[in-house]
């Protein structure tokens, strides 16, 4: 099962290249597009339903011991987000590009955030200008996960104010993973035979790779399709004989329409004359429509159509079983 990025180098050299990122800073610090400001605080607070008045109400903020309103602490990440335009059309290297590219190269093409731990050093107030620097702390060995095999990538983001003072640090963990191949569609099954008391023996024998023909115990006539009693002598007693597997094509059709998901079209169905004298509807395999002729000799093969269905099929006589 290959991903499009099947590793073609040694495992150790891949480890090597990922380890080279550990401890490195991902690009230059990213500066907030806007200073901390009241309108964006209002949007955030309203959107998240924050009811603490210290974010919007000067008096409440002072009553709580602040100099004025303060931004919600976890909003620190929002100030430095790259914004809509850059999300839609990312710049050539937005900092983590080289690491993301290396991970993708190794097949870890998908990402999901797993956890985020914040440590806050001071509250931000309107007018603060924030920037963030991201450093790779750890890249885990490959782990098996429910999403697929992947590596946990932990970075530490340090948020600083205009004076270079750290206002918050964030330990940010993502899972970069190789998406599992979606489960293949269950293969379509051939139409089920309606197995009943009169025909079960035949399908059971087929499962054991025995092509049998019903025989009247009383008069010895062979009959197919089988029936409960003999049309020649009316006996209800029967047994079976095993067919040799040699046959000739009596007639055939090449099916082009309608499509059924269990069959690859065109599909050749034939009526064959078994050497024993009875006829059988069967598939012709190991040949092409243009090579099939009425009268051509064919030989039995077995088709394991699915776990519950084994069918006798026939192939041109010249073609020996592998």
């Amino acid at each position: 099962m290959g991903s499009p990025h099947e590793p073609h180098e040694s495992h150790s050299s891949q480890e090597e290249r990922l380890r080279a990122f550990v401890g490195r800073t991902l690009g230059p610090p990213r500066r907030a597009q806007d200073p901390v400001n009241l309108p964006m605080i209002r949007h955030w607070v309203e959107a998240l339903g924050v009811d603490n008045p210290v974010h919007l109400d000067e008096d409440a903020a002072r009553a709580a011991g602040r100099a004025g309103v303060v931004a919600p602490a976890t909003m620190v990440q929002a100030w430095t987000m790259r914004g809509y335009a850059a999300t839609q059309a990312p710049p050539p290297d937005d900092g983590s590009g080289a690491l993301v590219a290396e991970l993708a190269e190794q097949g870890y093409t998908s990402v999901v955030a797993t956890d985020s731990e914040f440590e806050f050093h001071r509250e931000l107030v309107p007018g603060d200008r924030v920037e963030v620097e991201e450093r790779v702390e750890r890249i885990s060995p490959e782990k098996a996960t429910a999403l697929g095999p992947g590596r946990f990538v932990t970075t530490v983001r340090t948020y600083r104010d205009a004076h270079g003072q750290a206002v918050a640090t964030q330990r940010w963990r993502t899972l970069r993973f190789r998406p599992r191949q979606p489960d293949p569609e269950p293969p379509a099954l051939r139409p089920r035979p309606a197995v009943n008391r009169d025909n079960a023996f035949w399908f059971e024998a087929a499962r054991e790779h025995r092509l049998v023909i019903q025989r009247c115990v009383s008069c010895g006539e062979l009959r197919h399709p089988p029936g409960p009693c003999c049309p020649h002598c009316r006996s209800f007693e029967w047994d079976t004989v095993q067919a040799s597997g040699d046959a000739h094509v009596h007639t055939f059709t090449v099916v082009h329409h309608p499509r059924h998901p269990a069959f690859d079209l065109p599909h050749i169905v034939a009526v064959v004359d078994l050497a024993e004298g009875t006829r059988l509807i069967t598939d012709l395999v190991g040949t092409a429509p243009e090579h099939v002729r009425v009268g051509m000799p064919v030989r039995l093969r077995w088709l394991e159509a699915d776990p519950d269905l084994t069918l006798p099929v026939f192939a041109p006589h010249e073609q020996e079983d592998p």
Binding site: V195, P231, V254, H256, V269, I281
Partner: protein, 394 residues
């Protein structure tokens, strides 16, 4: 030798009626049945309360009592159904003729109505039909798991062997389609009105199940058709000249399967049709020479050829020459499928062909040949089947 039969000539078709033939009727099959039945009664000059018998196909979804109730019929003294798909067509009139000949019923309506194109399409095959284990479904155990699921595929097996034995070609089958489409082209009721085809069109059409091209297969249709059967005496008192049922017969051959009778020593003929033919000629006291026109069941072109052979119009293997020589044309020895057949007019499980036979003996077909005294009609081939002979009184 005389066989017991529905007293030949005792019954007659007194009325015919149909819905329009479409690809998407937009209404219920019951509604189609009602319209066809009421139209047939109107054609006969009868009222619903005059009806005391109903016959349809086992494949039909409209119950007799339901139809009687909603069309305002009263008491029903006879109701019966015939199996095997299109093989039932003439069989319904066989049942009706016996009922009126024996006095079991006085006026019997035979009907068939379906949304075969917009609803359950036979052409899509049996592969996905639900599983049951009665003998009916178990018969498919030898067929569908191998990918042999549709009527076209079943017929293809016979067609291939027929070609092998007699040297017939795809073009020989194609001529049957060209003939039907030529008649349909001049029949305003036909789906393919105004749209004839050439043999080259037939040859160029895509494969469905080799050796069958698309144009070897009849269309699929939504519609209904009904016919009123009464005694010949009664019919003479009604609105239309009677189309007397000179013969009706059903037939199931030796070693018969539903539509895959591949286990007979020879599979180039249609023995059940041979049986029907013998019965028809005995009852009508005639033979092929006494037949002036024919409606040959044409769900698939290849089985039209052995029908002509089983009916005695030519020797086995000779039908391709009989067709190529123009004998089925309106001016030929045996004008056939003057309505356009099921290939050209509509696929109504053969019932529209019986209505056309009534028009032929009335002298009212849109493609009316010269003198037509007797018309022979066949039903579905490859299955247990039926046939009838109509005689006109003009």
């Amino acid at each position: 030798m005389t066989r017991t039969a529905p007293r030949p000539g005792a019954a007659a078709v007194a009325g015919i009626g149909a819905t329009e033939f479409s690809k998407d009727s937009g209404r219920s099959e019951l509604s189609l049945a009602c319209e066809a039945v009421l139209a047939a009664l109107d054609d006969a000059g009868l009222e619903p309360p005059d009806v005391d018998g109903l016959v349809t196909f086992t494949a039909d979804t409209t119950p007799e009592a339901e139809l009687a109730r909603v069309t305002g019929m009263g008491e029903l003294a006879f109701f019966s159904r015939v199996g095997y798909g299109g093989g039932a067509a003439c069989g319904t009139l066989h049942q009706a003729a016996m009922a009126v000949a024996t006095g079991a019923a006085r006026a019997v309506v035979c009907y068939r109505a379906f949304n075969e194109r917009s609803g359950v399409r036979y052409g899509l095959g049996q592969a996905d039909r639900p599983l049951a284990t009665g003998a009916d479904r178990a018969a498919y155990s030898w067929i569908t798991p191998f990918g042999l699921s549709t009527p076209a595929q079943w017929v293809a097996m016979f067609a291939r062997r027929y070609m092998h034995e007699y040297g017939a070609t795809s073009e020989d089958f194609g001529r049957v389609a060209v003939l039907s489409r030529a008649r349909a082209a001049t029949n305003p009721r036909a789906w393919f009105h105004g749209r004839p085809i050439t043999l080259a069109d037939h040859q160029a059409s895509r494969w469905i199940a080799e050796p069958l091209h698309l144009l070897d297969c009849c269309q699929e249709t939504d519609g209904g058709q009904a016919l009123v059967v009464v005694s010949a005496e009664h019919a003479r008192t009604l609105r239309r000249p009677p189309a007397v049922l000179a013969a009706t017969a059903q037939g199931s051959g030796p070693d018969q399967h539903m539509m895959t009778s591949y286990y007979r020593p020879d599979i180039t003929g249609i023995p059940e049709m041979g049986l029907v033919a013998r019965r028809l000629y005995e009852q009508a006291r005639t033979g092929p020479d006494g037949i002036d026109a024919a409606i040959l069941y044409d769900h698939f072109t290849p089985l039209v050829l052995p029908q002509l052979e089983e009916l005695g119009f030519c020797a086995p293997g000779e039908a391709r020459h009989f067709v190529a020589d123009g004998h089925l044309e309106p001016g030929g020895r045996l004008p056939a499928n003057t309505h356009g057949g099921q290939i050209g007019e509509a696929y109504l499980h053969g019932m529209n062909g019986i209505a056309e036979a009534v028009r032929l003996v009335r002298g009212t077909s849109v493609n009316q040949p010269r003198e037509v005294g007797r018309v022979l009609v066949t039903a579905g081939t490859g299955v247990p089947t039926s046939g009838l002979v109509l005689e006109g009184e003009r």
